[in-house]
């Protein structure tokens, strides 16, 4: 609790700070309690937080910390003009005095109104006066407000019940009497039984007035008719009246009363009602238990489940449900966006590019952004299998093997995207056999669709191993590719040759191993042969 004169405010970054208007101190630290007995000085606009020199002091409503207003001066943010006005007139500033003190029910707190139109809260016990109610005080205040409304409702109900009784009393004489009063009776009946359920207070008042006129005539009759009370009829109509009143008022209090009546024993229903209440009251899965209970305090359905532990347990399960719902909702959203992307991709790729990037900016998930922003030709597919295929298309030739492919590209995300590891090999082998058979043309259009090659390929389609017996001789195109790779190693060859008389294939091999073109020539023996030839040529030329 704040000592006197101190008020709590919120800085723009969310942290709370404390300001003492009298001394002009502002502090980040909550001040300790002292025992004083003084009403708070009148509040003057918003005091700035401590240590914030750049805080907008240019605004008129703000008061610089150095200039705390004297306790008895006139309030108002527009202090300057008022002061000027007062000093002009030469009047003494008014002394602030409490005009009215209303006690807040059952607590030491008072609401004090002063003659200078200020209202503050005063605790008689702790002698604390504050401008802004503390959370506890707020609760009490709301209770007070509730009780006040309840009182009003009760009064209204009592009034209506009274009027109702009068109606009954009136009806009885009409029922017994016939003839001339029949019309009046009908009129009354029609009036009291509204066509719809809309019986406004005006109607009630009007009817009351009408009732009173007639009642004056019927007073004697009423007295004699009391004996003819028909209790059942009374109650029925009473209940009907009550129902209409309820609908009239439409207050949650009466609804709650209805709830409590409906669910005395049924535990499941009560729990459902409790959960509904949590939903309605805006309890989120991010609340602590205390926060949640605080939100539900005001709701009468809170009383349905008396035990604190059960409440906490229900709240926990509610949180789980909510979290799941939120997740599912987000998943759905993402799915919809993905589908949208797919559709548009089929129509127009260009516009889809822009659209997908804008969508990806909007969508929260990163996977869709990454997949939609890949700059490969077919953007529509996000499936891991297709990505894997693309990886294969890029790096495999007819002479690749699974082992080499795997070792080289197992770190590639596209490789790893395809989840069951066993699938990867089978897909790869399938693809390879298709390639060799010529069913699928490799994407990098080499001139490799010659029939000679096919014949050669078909013989070795079954196995993918590098056993030289099964290997076919490389085509010219492939040799050229390999040569181009070798040419790049010319420098290394010469270097090696300088240091050691013989150039080792082993060493050079390591350098060019990773390159795509290395695989162009399938057979390792052939590769070495080619290398040898090239190396000799290079050395010869040099020499």
């Amino acid at each position: 609790m704040l000592p006197l004169g101190w008020t709590e405010h919120k800085a723009p970054d969310g942290m709370a700070y404390f300001y003492n208007a009298a001394s002009g101190q502002s502090s980040w630290v909550r001040p300790t309690m002292q025992q004083h007995h003084m009403p708070p000085p009148p509040g003057n606009g918003i005091p700035p937080p401590p240590g914030m020199s750049g805080y907008p002091s240019s605004q008129q409503s703000l008061h610089p910390p150095g200039l705390g207003p004297p306790p008895s001066s006139a309030p108002a943010p527009i202090a300057s003009t008022e002061d000027a006005g007062i000093s002009k007139k030469g009047k003494k500033p008014k002394r602030e005095k409490a005009i009215k003190k209303t006690r807040i029910l059952e607590s030491p707190w008072f609401i004090v109104e002063t003659n200078l139109e200020n209202t503050f809260f005063y605790n008689k016990e702790s002698k604390v006066s504050i401008w802004v109610p503390t959370p506890e005080l707020e609760i009490i205040l709301t209770k007070m407000g509730q009780e006040a409304t309840e009182k009003i409702e009760a009064e209204r109900r009592a009034r209506d019940a009274e009027e109702q009784e009068r109606l009954q009393a009136l009806k009885r004489p009409f029922e017994t009497d016939t003839g001339g009063q029949g019309d009046g009776d009908k009129r009354l009946r029609n009036g009291t039984e509204p066509q719809g359920t809309e019986m406004t207070e005006d109607d009630v008042a009007w009817q009351l007035a009408a009732m009173e006129e007639i009642m004056e005539d019927q007073d004697q009759h009423m007295a004699s008719q009391d004996e003819y009370d028909d209790d059942d009829e009374d109650e029925e109509d009473n209940n009907a009246m009550q129902e209409r009143l309820r609908m009239l008022q439409g207050s949650s209090a009466s609804r709650a009363a209805a709830y409590l009546e409906i669910l005395p024993e049924n535990i499941q229903e009560r729990e459902m009602a409790f959960l509904d209440m949590m939903r309605e009251r805006g309890v989120t899965q991010f609340d602590t238990v205390d926060m949640a209970l605080g939100k539900m305090e005001k709701d009468p359905r809170n009383r349905l489940i008396p035990d604190q532990k059960d409440k906490a347990a229900l709240f926990d399960s509610f949180c789980v449900i909510r979290a799941r719902e939120v997740k599912e909702a987000r998943e759905k959203e993402r799915q919809q966006k993905q589908d949208k992307e797919m559709e548009e991709g089929h129509h127009d790729r260009n516009t889809k590019d822009k659209h997908s990037t804008s969508l990806s900016r909007d969508s929260k998930s990163h996977t869709t952004t990454s997949s939609s922003s890949t700059s490969s030709a077919s953007k529509t597919t996000n499936k891991p299998e297709d990505m894997y295929r693309r990886l294969m298309e890029e790096y495999t030739t007819k002479t690749s093997t699974w082992l080499d492919f795997m070792t080289k590209y197992r770190v590639d995300p596209r490789f790893l995207a395809l989840k069951p590891g066993s699938l990867r090999e089978s897909i790869f082998r399938q693809y390879l056999s298709d390639l060799k058979k010529g069913i699928i043309q490799p994407p990098s259009s080499k001139s490799s669709s010659s029939s000679d090659k096919d014949k050669r390929v078909s013989s070795s389609s079954s196995s993918n191993s590098r056993s030289s017996s099964m290997k076919h001789k490389a085509t010219d195109a492939e040799i050229d590719e390999f040569m181009s790779l070798l040419k790049e190693t010319k420098k290394d060859i010469l270097y090696e040759h300088k240091n050691s008389s013989s150039v080792e294939w082993r060493k050079i091999k390591k350098l060019i191993d990773r390159d795509r073109r290395y695989d162009a020539v399938g057979s390792s023996t052939e590769r070495e042969l080619l290398f040898r030839k090239y190396a000799d040529r290079v050395i010869q030329r040099r020499d």
């Binding site: 942290m15 300790t32 899965q285 238990v289 909510r322």
Partner: protein
């Protein structure tokens, strides 16, 4: 652990804004507890609110991730890194029998004369009735899993009751 956001710090993962107000509240409460004057309290008693708030804050994060699954793994790890929750304490909560442990000091046998755990770890029924224990480390009144209370009120049983009380 730096809680101040500068231009160098990484942005918080998504979902942080939902829990940010609660975390901030914990922060202010912690500040108040730290700056409380020591009048009227025992020397050790002054530290109890700190432990209590620490437990509550870590509990909040733990529940959010493990029980309610309301935050993502990314956000959870971010919170741990930034010091919004104690990872070691949470690690204890994951173990059987330690679900409601109050603080790490109370299960440290090296801190006691006889190499046992703190008295607050004793289950209620083993303790003679009527004796209200407030352990010296953190003011806990019983944090064994069988003490018969939900996790929410476990913190309430440590130190002073009424977590929300603002009275000095």
């Amino acid at each position: 652990m730096p809680k101040i956001k500068s231009s160098r710090t990484k942005r918080a993962p998504e979902g942080f804004d939902d829990i940010e107000p609660t975390l901030r509240e914990f922060q202010t409460k912690m500040k108040d507890a730290e700056n409380d004057p020591h009048e009227g309290k025992r020397k050790i008693e002054a530290l109890w609110p700190i432990f209590r708030l620490h437990h509550q804050r870590s509990r909040y994060v733990y529940e959010l991730y493990y029980k309610r699954e309301a935050i993502s793994k990314e956000l959870y790890e971010y919170l741990l890194k930034q010091g919004y929750a104690d990872a070691n304490l949470i690690a204890k909560w994951k173990k059987a029998g330690y679900e409601k442990v109050c603080c790490l000091r109370c299960i440290q046998p090296k801190d006691t004369n006889f190499g046992t755990t703190c008295v607050c770890r004793v289950p209620r029924d083993k303790l003679e009735d009527g004796k209200v224990i407030e352990c010296i480390h953190c003011g806990c009144r019983g944090c064994s899993s069988g003490s018969g209370a939900s996790a929410g009120s476990a913190a309430a049983r440590k130190g002073k009751p009424a977590a929300k009380s603002d009275d000095a």
